[in-house]
Amino acid sequence: MKLFLIKGLISAVLLIGFVFGYGRFCDYFFTQKRFLDLSEKKQWVLAQEGGDWDYAILGSSRAFGAFDMNLLDSLTGMKGINIASDGSGFKDNYLILSLFLKSNSIDFLVLQVDDASLNSKESFSNEFHAFRFLPYWNDSQVQSTLKTEIPAYNNEITDLLPEWRYFYFNKYFSPKEVLRRWNNSKIQKDEYSNYAGGKGQSFQRLLDSSADIKIKHSIKTIAPEDWHYLNQLISLAKNKDLKLVAFVAPTFYGDNSFLKESLNELLIPIYFPDDFDDLNPELFYDLGHLNSKGRAEFTPLFAKFISSKI
């Protein structure tokens, strides 16, 4: 029994030591700018430091691909940054903005709101990219959000050994990923600083998927937790004294009546793309996203709105 207990104890100590050591290594490695994967938009945003912009655009892929930023800057006479990213709901965006504002400054925030991000569970294959924020655990907003959203983090094991959290999302923090980031660090390219918009001209995808129009536009409910994080975002912007406007990005056959009703109580200026030709398939990449032609049409319309709100 004595030998069994000694061996068991040594094994447990070694295991805890390994988890602790590897976790501490991840804390360091995955927050280093040179090891962030700048080809991934969220990480590119998290890598920004010391920036000073007039405005930032925050939202999901619809906001990410809705603007030609150079054109918008020239039309408004301001310098902006697009920090929207694919698949981001309000939970993601709340943490992205919170971390972004820790080392950057902006004057006002342009927030994209739509039916998808108001019901992220129904709309996104991954409603919350919690793993992206694990290395920023020491940030109180990150920690409290992760503990609220990921039940497994709200227990004693994470309190006693927070380094354990990396193994919960081991796919993203494996030695293989460390090696990949290490190799990438030598050939990193900044793909988004002069980003003109992602989706190309093709609207073939739209034609292919037009049968799904009813399904895509059927989400007419607001998830309370998404509403909560939208309000958190607004509070965060107000606490940082940011001016705030919101907008709804154009979607093919977009019906915004539900959003117009629902968003009234937010008491912030909101732009609805009523003057945009959302029946013209040539302006869309797919049902929910503009293509470059659509972007070129939409950017001036939005510039007019935003200029009137400054």
């Binding site: 029994m1 030998l3 069994f4 068991g8 295991l15 390994f18 988890v19 497994a152 227990n155 004693e156 094991i157 193994f167 919960y168 999302f169 081991n170 494996s174 030695p175």
Partner: protein, 502 residues
Amino acid sequence: MLFNSFEFLIFLPLVFLGYWFVFQKNLKLQNAFILLASYVFYGWWDWRFLGLIIASSAVDYWCGLRLGQVIARRNDEAISNGGEELPTTHHLPLTTYKNWLKGPKFYLAISLLFNLGLLGFFKYFNFFIESATDFIKLLGFQAHASTLNLILPVGISFYTFQTMSYTIDVYRGKMEATKDPIAFFAFVAFFPQLVAGPIERASNFLPQFFKKREFEYQQGSDGMKLILWGLFKKMVIADNCALVVNPIFENYQTASGLELIMGAVLFSFQIYGDFSGYSDIAIGTAKLFGFDLMTNFRTPYFSRDIAEFWRRWHISLSTWFRDYVYIPLGGSRVSKAKAIRNIFIVFLVSGFWHGANWTFIAWGGIHAALFIPFFVLGKNRAYLDEGRHLIPSLWEVIQILVTFGMVTLAWVFFRSESMGEAIGYFNSFLANPLKEGFRISLYQLPLAAVLLMLTLEWIFRGKQILAFKFPLVRYAGYVGIVMTILFFGAFFNPQDFIYFQF
């Protein structure tokens, strides 16, 4: 409480220390402690259903006592009448109803009715109501079904079978009735195997509660190896396979042929990793407390024919049905036609045991249909050895692959929610055999993990898993498995053990 949960990580060492350091000197106290720990383990899931285990244990304890008394009295009467001691299964003729009420069959019937009644109510009530309604509608009559919103108590199929084995064995005179209620209740509720087996036989397991238990290093070490291996099979194999398999079965209509094949193959490994992983952890945990549970799986996917598969898959259930259903029906010592009927019954009942769904019955029926040709040709006991060669012959490889293929086809029924879905799965494959949409990158992790598992199981088949000869290799093996679990275990998407639902 799940074996792969934080709660169990705290629970197990506490119970281990209490068991060996606080209560070791008194066997009765040790058994009481195990019983208490088992009820805490079970109650953690839902304490309300503790009443069912206690009731089942109490009824069978009482039936066992009464059976013991009746059998002993009849033997005494036979001896005092100058005759020899009667075999316990030989009873006085049932001339009157009163006589029957005093006889052992009465107490056996109470035990069986109570346990099968529990099982029938919680597991099969809705199925029978719905099936009857469907049948009435099929005849052209109006029918409205009123089903109940019942929660299936975890482990009910396992502990009711285990406790029934006790009364049947006492009835058959294979063992004496116990007069120690604590030991008996602990035998029924023993936490390592309470919710998903192995389904222990009373004659093997109950006597272990009466023996003084000493901690043996080797037994404890073997237990830890099994727990580690079980966690690997559950968290790396089963849970990673589930991440790929679930979307394929949910969207089989649009999946490509290759995806459907991959879905079926990986489900075979998912259910094996899940269930045998649970059994390994259960057997390993029991060893930590000085108990030996029966082997439940012996590398079933290395079987060379379907008969060998059934000697290696879920052994505790298949031998239960053999001993308590197949043999009482006459087994193979009857005419060929009756023996075939018996085989069919056992496989169908075995399928039905898994759940109230026609898919399970179809699964049992397919296995019966695959097994019977071997039985008819007298080839059902062709492979009783483990296979001795490190490198299998080409013929063996072909046999193993063909057997695995047949088992995998049957698993499609087992995994499907309905017969329509199972048939749709095959139809979809025939309609889209070469449809595009297959991305090998999705399958790399589960396939690599399966390959690692099969390699190690092949090397250690018939032996203690991970028992490397050289210490350095052995420790490297342990570290390797732990690292594989840490870096490839599906911690974020843990799946419930599949057999909990049965």
